[in-house]
Symmetry: C2
Subunit: 365 residues, 2 copies
């Protein structure tokens, strides 16, 4: 018998820049061309973003191979669309020297990022998020993935972007429901990491809902800094990064049981209230803190209760399939104060009994 040791060396640290501004898109393509001069480009977007005119604005008359996901939204976020994107890249004779440009919301970023991660064993991706959700959350951090017929993001990879461009002007064309739902991730960031940011969101909510560019740039800055700090500390979600899943355990399950009639942010709003109820149950919070959270969510007109007729048993079943489940029951991220994750013994996700979760689900109905 022989034994050989193979030492796979560490990867080099990877830096990327997030650029935030208003009206970046019309002059962005030359910057992409010069920054990635040695790469072929392939743009992935969706039907909504294309009809809003953003693809034309970005390309400014240049002919660039691209793929328009149709229909837009969660319904297309599956492996079949990934295969279609990759086969389109192959048919355009693109090789490993390609950079994928993701122009759109969270589902576009997730799908384009995942396609980039697995195309010929990986090519870089540039994220250009165009929704409140993607600008706050999904464009930064490198989580990519698509859903299976069984659960959300069953297929995926950690694949950090090579650059991120946040143009808050693209939010002006977003429909109201999407716009509001996407702001829930901003509230989540404030809850887990920054009490001052929570105060800012409460006090400037009218300006945010009026889509004033200055305040939109400000919240993009807060979001990217908070998310970036967490991702830098723990890029592969071994521990600390789990705090970003605040509200997501029950949120994801509700999103799935609703058959994606709930938007992601709407489902996370319910998940945040669920986390708040668990915190009250476990003595981590006074009810007043939860009231304050519920009030800002209500002002956003996102749901704070489970939709009627939602199958609670199915929701419990989906919790058992949670990616983070260990021994078929997920752990939960909770906060001990505004801006402060509950972190006993250095663990950012903690045990919550099934009884407590069931009790909270009844209160949410």
């Amino acid at each position: 018998m022989q034994e050989l040791q193979i030492k796979v060396p560490a990867t080099v640290p990877q830096d990327y820049t997030i650029t935030i501004g208003t009206g970046l898109l019309p002059s962005l393509w030359p910057k992409v061309e010069s920054t990635f001069a040695r790469h072929s480009k392939f743009v992935v977007t969706d039907a909504n973003v294309a009809s809003a005119g953003h693809l034309d604005t970005l390309l400014a008359g240049q002919t660039v191979p691209h793929f328009v996901i149709e229909p837009a939204g969660e319904a297309s976020k599956n492996i079949e669309t990934t295969v279609a994107i990759i086969e389109a890249m192959e048919k355009a004779y693109l090789g490993r020297d390609t950079v994928v440009v993701a122009l759109g919301g969270g589902t576009v970023g997730d799908m384009a990022g995942f396609a980039a991660a697995i195309f010929k064993r990986g090519v870089p991706v540039i994220q250009i998020p165009t929704t409140t959700l993607a600008q706050a959350d999904s464009a930064v951090g490198g989580k990519t993935g698509v859903d299976s017929s069984v659960s959300k993001n069953a297929f995926g990879a950690f694949w950090h972007p090579a650059a991120v461009y946040v143009d808050v002007a693209t939010l002006q064309t977003l429909d109201d429901r999407q716009y509001r739902a996407g702001l829930v991730e901003s509230i989540k960031h404030a809850l887990i990491a920054d009490r001052e940011y929570f105060d800012f969101l409460e006090s400037r909510l009218d300006a945010i809902l009026a889509r004033e560019p200055e305040v939109l740039e400000a919240i993009a800055g807060y979001n990217c800094r908070i998310k970036g700090d967490v991702v830098e500390a723990d890029p592969h979600e071994r521990n600390q990064r789990r705090m970003l899943n605040y509200g997501h355990t029950i949120g994801h399950a509700a999103e799935s049981v609703s058959n994606y009639e709930l938007l992601h942010g709407e489902a996370i709003a319910i998940g945040i209230v669920a986390a708040g109820l668990i915190e009250v149950e476990m003595g981590l919070s006074e009810p007043q803190r939860l009231d304050r959270v519920r009030r800002i969510l209500e002002k956003l007109s996102v749901p704070v209760k489970l939709p009627a007729h939602l199958d609670e048993k199915k929701l419990i079943d989906i919790l058992k399939h949670d990616k983070k489940a260990v021994d078929k029951w997920p752990k939960f991220v909770l906060i001990s104060d505004l801006g402060q994750v509950h972190c006993p013994d250095g663990k950012y996700a903690v045990d919550v009994s099934r009884d407590t979760v069931e009790k909270v689900l009844r209160k949410l109905s």
Copy 2:
């Protein structure tokens, strides 16, 4: 406008052990259980390996969730099989705390490794290769992938194994054609890295073809050391690792145009002869060296010419789709001597004109 820098930290170096022996399989499962005590296990194998009895030998009566790829071979190496593997894992309620165990040849290792790479954004994989091809090559090095309808390994990831167990006793049940074709990767290793190993293969070929355990352990040791050294130096194929593609550029294309009637090793044998002809054309080799290479391949009874009626235009078209293609034409790995890659200016893959390739293809017909 604001700019934020995100610094994704380097990954830690990842060590793994390759264990080589004869008759490891019957006592391996307890070792897997103790080394990966905190992980759920999921075994991926194929119909051939299962009928050869290796799955039963490995599990030794234990009930472990598993997936048997059917039919065995390249025809199943596609995204549909990957989806089926992952959905089987989900239906077994497996989470991120799972280790995938790949028991089989190159296609099993590629598919199981790729499924592990993308299941819930990545879980570890243990490789237990059972063919001459997989033991020499694919089980070590972390290349995983599946084919699209357009080209080979269009989908894939670099995903290094957490452990490799090479039991040369499993080779006794391999059919003769597979056995011989798989040895071509051993010849490739000798050609690119170790002249003494080439002498060893030449002088011990009868013992190798008689499947004598001692000589099989010896070549497994040579192969894993050569492959491991290259992978350690360049895990993501930026430069030096390209030497492992010796014979693979035309080999892959021939494999594809033959519609996988050529086994991988058979196609690589043709590719190695093609590389030799290019070397003679370019003045890198005397014809005598190529004769010596051709002789050992002929003794293995693998093809050294393109099959009759193979569509040469289609082959050229596939070369343009090569993963390593830049500007729609691949670079080629060549050797300047036995055991020595031709490496001008530190480049392990060099330009070869389309004219030269077409001339060589005519000589190969």
